[in-house]
Amino acid sequence: MLKLILRRLVQMVLIMAVSSLLLFAIFDTPEFKKRLAVQELGGFAVSALTEESYKSWLAARGLDVPFYQRYANWVGNILSGDLGFSYEKNRPVAPLLADRLANTGILAFFVFALMIPLSLILGILAGMKEGSLQDRTISFVSVFTTSIPEIASAILLTIIFALGLGWLPVKSAMIGGFNFRELILPVLTLVIYDFGYVARMTRASMAEVMTSQYIRTAILKGLPYRRVVMRHALRNALIAPFTLIVLQLNWLLSGVVVVEVFFEYDGFGKLLLEAALFPDVEVVQACTLVAVAVAVLSQIISDIGYTFLNPRIRFA
């Protein structure tokens, strides 16, 4: 097990190294540098720059050296704890990223706090009696909600709760400090899109377990139905959803982009998009590293969890 985790971590570092080098190479084109200059100086100004002053502008930003050299510096800095500097936001990346990650973390916390119980309960209720009315209802609702992409559910929720009923604020910029009411719509948007998927997977897992032979054994042993479900079915049925939920962390990093942009919530996704469009290379780099780390760590957690929940692997 330890070996597996170690291997994953080594793999993570490898992936990070490969992807960040690639990113540096990608963002090294003259077009990107020019774009950066345009963003900073304005289109008119850039085209009025002489070759020489453009070069000195590049030098001032350290963009005049080949990307591998910058990469080496950057890696050195990373190792010493310096994540770089944001051209766009004019501040070091580390505190910037920390702020944004914290915001996304808050968002994610509420999403999971709502989504996990909701999807597991619905999934189990549906999977317990495959083909029953409650199953078909829950299944249909979950297909339906997963079919509404975040952007559409954000719109629908905004129209209903903010524009129509006026119960909630339209945007979540939180300019007056943290405001729970502004968090509701983004959280709901993400939950609506995601819970259906997890519920369906839970349902499938539960349904499969319920038709398994050991459940038949348990029933024919004369155990009460409650005991069969709670003791025999649940644990086995929840293995798959558990790993899935952990892996949703990775999904969430994708989902938050559109939600944060739509609701103007200052989180990781919005930062990433802004940085990519700017192009704020070091921020993109840092965001990507975080994303990869989250992805790989969630895989590790899901592996450990899977092993822990599944004695077949734990005592192999």
């Binding site: 020019k34 774009r35 345009v38 963003q39 000195s56 501040r91 604020p169 945007k171 200052d266």
Partner: protein, 563 residues
């Protein structure tokens, strides 16, 4: 300063101008602007023109600000939705927004009001020599820096020295006033010795190499904010200004918070400009998509700028929409050295097939001016109307046929929407009109940043030009042979000569005529389709009083108050 005092030292040109006004060759409004530039107090100038002076404080302080509103209440926070940029060095600002962030902390020598009249600000008054080559600025006494220092001529000199240092990369060096203090030495620009003279603590004189009329106007160009003589970038490290407010927090892309300065080193701070009402000014960074929503949700009290596409939305929200005429435009220029535009007939066919007057209402139903396919706007003081353009579809077809495209031609225009989606709307309207003349226009929409990479090279592109105070200024920036921003590749000695002549002519009326000549050359060459001079819209909630609309979108909130 009293009117008499001013008139005693009145610049001879003022008399000239007054004569022109009296003879009807100069509008009264233009006379006021002109006289103010030449050092006549704005109040006096208005009086000379026989116009009612706007409510500008007329007390002894000769303040550039509007008069205090009798009902004004002190206190409150003004929250404005605007892009929050970095403000490392005011001299190198690239955007108006950054200057708005610092405007209430770092002030200017002069200030151009919404009425386009330039009044003294940190300067108390100025004088120009008869040949307009020597300018003397008398600085306001009693202006204090936030660190307790007095504001002196040393501060001003320090700023000019910075601006003229090419290593800094300030765009101020390109201002006609500043550039007239600079010489080329060994291929490097540097300040001419003796160009700046400190007469005394509060008097400074500039000796220019060429006559410049617009010196005071230049001194309100957004990167000319005056910093303390000890300034070292970045600004964040030592916030120091002369304004009524100071920046307490500036988070790029998020917020910029200004607070009223109340005390300096234990001493109460007395602002030279009289009463200010707001306690704090907050700028919040919102996407264009979200700012009106934020406004409607009362997250902010005012919006820096919104596009015409949001007008209906804005109208539906409770608030004051404030529009200003500008010389901002969309210049759909054809590169005269790129196929198929090398053939003037093709270009002409394009301009002939388009009815600018029909496009404007589609793009800007309210406000704005119809363009005339050259680059002088009706708001420019040196504008003179040309003969109206008429659409001639048949003529366009004939020209096309003559140019070897009897079955029509397919053109592609690059649109970057750098200034908002209205670019595209305008291009689409052009497309619909061109269709009638057998010209198929493909609209290639590309991201703004991409557009800035190609704007000077693309054969056919829609470029947004920002507001500049003078027609001559923008004409020489954009259409002189070989200048860097000459995006159309237009090269006409005739045009250059006409422009030179216009710039050298101080007689307003003559100058207008000469500029019109240059404009006519440009129009005849069919270099561009210039359908529209756009208005700018900003918005303030009803509780914001005295929110000024400035064509350059400069914020001046000293006399703004919240009810």
């Amino acid at each position: 300063m009293s009117t008499n005092e001013t008139s005693s030292k009145m610049h001879p040109k003022v008399r000239e101008a007054q004569e022109q006004m009296d003879s009807g060759r100069l509008s009264r409004r233009e006379f006021v602007r002109y006289a103010a530039l030449l050092g006549v107090g704005a109040g006096a100038a208005y009086a000379m023109a026989g116009l009612p002076s706007p409510a500008v404080a007329q007390d002894a302080a000769n303040l550039p600000f509007p008069a205090d509103d009798a009902n004004a209440k002190a206190g409150g926070i003004l929250k404005v939705a605007m892009q929050v940029q970095k403000i490392d060095d005011p001299a190198t600002f690239s955007w108006t927004q950054a200057s708005n962030q610092t405007r209430h902390m770092l002030e200017y020598l002069a200030m151009t009001g919404p009425d386009n009249v330039t009044r003294p600000m940190l300067a108390e008054r100025w004088e120009a020599s008869e040949d307009l080559k020597t300018w003397t600025f008398y600085l306001r006494k009693g202006v204090k820096w936030h660190n307790g220092d007095d504001f002196t001529a040393e501060d001003v000199k320090f700023n000019f020295e910075r601006w003229t240092n090419p290593d800094l990369g300030s765009s101020n060096i390109g201002l006609s006033s500043v550039s007239a203090m600079v010489e080329d030495k060994d291929g490097k620009k540097s300040l001419i010795d003796g160009a700046i003279e400190i007469v005394d603590d509060h008097t400074i004189r500039f000796n220019l190499t060429k006559p410049v009329l617009s010196f005071p106007e230049d001194m309100y160009n957004y990167p000319t904010a005056i910093v303390h003589r000890g300034f070292k970038p970045p600004l964040d490290s030592s916030m120091n200004g002369t304004g009524a407010y100071t920046i307490t927090e500036n988070v790029v892309g998020d917020r910029c918070i200004l607070k009223k300065v109340t005390e300096v080193g234990g001493q109460p701070f007395e602002y030279w400009g009289g009463t200010v009402f707001l306690d704090e000014i907050h700028y919040y960074n919102f996407d264009a998509d979200n700012q009106l929503t934020a406004f409607a949700g009362q997250s902010v009290d005012a919006i820096y700028d919104f596009g015409v596409e949001q007008m209906e939305l804005a109208k539906a929200i409770d608030g004051n929409i404030i529009a200003a005429r500008t010389a901002q435009c969309l210049c759909c220029r054809m590169r005269v050295d790129a196929e198929p535009f090398t053939d003037e007939r093709v270009r002409k066919a394009v301009t002939m097939a388009i009815d600018n007057a029909a496009i404007k209402p589609l793009v800007y139903p309210e406000g704005g001016d119809v363009g005339e396919n050259h680059h002088v706007a009706p708001v420019h003081p040196d504008y003179q109307a040309l003969a109206p353009l008429t659409r001639d579809v048949e003529g366009a077809k004939a020209l096309l046929a003559e140019a070897g495209h009897p079955d029509g031609i397919t053109l592609t225009i690059d649109v970057g929407n750098t200034d908002g989606p209205w670019h595209q709307t305008a291009a689409e309207a052009m497309r619909d009109q061109l269709k009638d003349a057998g010209i198929t226009l493909n609209i290639n929409v590309i991201p703004a940043s991409k557009y800035w990479e190609i704007w000077t090279q693309t054969p056919f592109g829609a470029t947004a030009w920002t507001h500049r105070p003078l027609g001559t200024m923008v004409m020489s920036l954009g259409y002189r042979t070989g200048v860097p921003w000459n995006e159309s590749g237009f090269a006409s000695p005739e045009f250059d000569a006409a422009l030179d002549e216009a710039e050298a002519t101080l007689d307003v009326e003559a100058r207008k005529g000469l500029l019109a000549k240059a404009a006519q050359i440009l129009q005849d060459a069919s270099v561009m389709v210039m359908p529209i001079w756009r208005p700018v819209y900003c918005m303030a909630s009803k509780s914001v009083n005295g929110y000024p609309a400035h064509p350059t979108q400069y914020h001046q909130f000293n006399k703004v108050w919240m009810s």
